[in-house]
């Protein structure tokens, strides 16, 4: 209700050289200052206030005003979001992120899992893929007994069902684990093989045309803090967040992807498509996971999970078609 200048603390857990910092957070901060006429500025803190998995709690409790993070870093908390991390969530990150935002608005915004925060944007990363350090993985037989680094319950279930050995660890530890033989391969979007400089240790990339798995991200603000902004500032910020911010998130990942493919190809790495047989095996697991999720999501307060999933898929197809 007042017009004095306000600075909002933003806690981010990637180094300031990461593209999420330089190409997403910094432009976002500039846009906020611009549309509010400098009344609201974002202060990106020089160090994170907690671990990556703590960033939802940091913002919900108002320790930071704004944070971003990955929903499934808290493995059992955000059940309503899981469907978007399953296989076949798509490979166009902008379309995915916009579709996820629309689905959230339509079906999830009053779900208790998201209480206490003002959601500013949602995002997916355009399809996670399977990467191996020694050979091309194209068939179910290739994958069995191979040790893959992964994060989160969905990837763990996929790998286990395919007969591989899941090893839980953050992506930042992939390099040393590959070098030391802890793992044979690792799950990443193609972009992060490049951005974590893994091209020397992950040399064979298996591409699933609709994505092998995905990761759901939030950009969120503390709700009480949001309500303390003046109405004019809230309106101004609302005009550049939501679907717009989600689209910006996706575009960043979409821009990284072709750059990464080119760089990895130049480095002599091989890209292969997953065989029909492997895709069939993944789809069989996918069907089971969806069936289980529908039950779990109903328990987590989603009235009609089937409709939510169908809405997401239709929105995605719409956006890609546009």
């Amino acid at each position: 209700a007042q017009a004095q200048a306000q600075s909002l603390n933003l806690s981010s857990w990637v180094p300031p050289t990461h593209f999420i910092h330089t190409d997403f957070l910094v432009p976002f901060a500039e846009r906020v200052a611009e549309v509010t006429g400098g009344r609201v500025t974002l202060n990106i803190l020089p160090a994170p206030l907690g671990g990556p998995a703590q960033h939802w709690e940091l913002v919900r409790n108002g320790i930071a005003d704004i944070t971003w993070g990955n929903f499934t870093y808290e493995p059992e908390r955000f059940i309503p979001m899981w469907f978007a991390e399953f296989p076949n969530a798509g490979t166009n990150a902008e379309a995915q992120s916009v579709a996820l935002w629309r689905a959230y608005e339509e079906y999830l915004s009053d779900n208790p899992a998201f209480a206490g925060v003002k959601m500013l944007g949602l995002g997916l990363f355009g399809g996670g893929q399977l990467h191996h350090g020694a050979r091309a993985i194209t068939t179910p037989a290739d994958i069995s007994n191979q040790k893959f680094r992964m994060g989160g319950p969905i990837q763990e279930r996929m790998l286990t069902a395919l007969g591989a050995v899941p090893v839980a660890a953050p992506a930042t530890r992939a390099y040393e684990m590959l070098e030391s033989g802890v793992i044979d391969g690792s799950l990443h979007p193609v972009e992060s093989v490049m951005n974590f400089r893994l091209e020397g240790v992950l040399t064979h990339h298996t591409i699933f045309p609709n994505g092998f798995y995905d990761a759901t991200f939030f950009v969120a603000m503390n709700e009480a803090r949001w309500n303390r902004l003046s109405e004019a500032d809230r309106d101004a910020i609302a005009g550049i967040t939501g679907e717009m911010l989600s689209a910006a998130w996706g575009r960043n990942f979409d821009q990284q992807h072709p750059v990464a493919v080119e760089k990895l190809t130049t480095a002599g790495n091989s890209f292969t498509e997953a065989s029909e047989e492997l895709i069939g095996a993944v789809n069989a697991i996918y069907d089971e996971m969806v069936a289980d999720w529908i039950v779990a999501a109903k328990g987590a307060g989603v009235a009609d999970p089937e409709a939510l999933l169908a809405f997401y898929q239709a929105s995605y197809a719409d956006f890609v078609g546009e």
Binding site: E57, E74, E76, R77, P153, G181
Partner: protein, 165 residues
């Protein structure tokens, strides 16, 4: 009373020794498992983290009771004089207060953890009981700090307590 404290201390010490020893054994098993058999232990890092939390919070009341927290002793010549006793008691009570605050905050955190289904990354071990354990340890440490502020340290069997620097 004295005997109960000593028994309790030795019991906790044995627990810590077993925990640290299992950490070593777990590392061996995990490394050998993946090198030779090609099968790492799922969630080995997760187990290590929990063992460490178990050991550290088991040790906190002991270190507090023995007054072995890292302390700067530059001005001991003045501060250890008898007329400064009131300050040493006060310093002990500061420690006790912080531990009491921590006990309450970890208890609150434990209550929240249940509501938000907070679990560990790999093995999905619920965090609620972990926080309650930390809370209990801090409460015991608060008690130890408050008592030793007046009585002085509870003796240990350690020959030297070398610091880690």
């Amino acid at each position: 009373m004295h005997i109960i404290v000593m028994r309790l201390r030795r019991g906790i010490e044995t627990l810590i020794a077993l925990v640290l020893f299992s950490m070593v054994a777990l590392t061996f098993a995990d490394v050998i498992g993946r090198r030779i058999i090609g099968r790492p232990i799922y969630g080995a890092h997760d187990i290590t983290e929990h063992l460490m939390a178990l050991a550290v919070f088991a040790g906190l009341p002991l270190v507090t009771a023995a007054c072995l927290h890292l302390t700067v002793d530059l001005f001991d010549r003045v501060l250890m004089k008898s007329w400064m006793r009131w300050w040493r008691v006060l310093a002990g009570l500061i420690v006790a207060t912080i531990f009491a605050l921590l006990a309450w905050l970890f208890f609150r955190q434990g209550m929240t953890a249940g509501q938000i289904s907070e679990v560990s990354q790999a093995l999905r071990i619920p965090r609620g009981p972990v926080y309650f354990y930390m809370s209990a340890s801090c409460a015991l440490s608060a008690l130890a700090a408050a008592l030793t502020a007046f009585t002085g340290p509870v003796p240990t069997d350690l020959d030297t307590a070398e610091d880690a620097t």
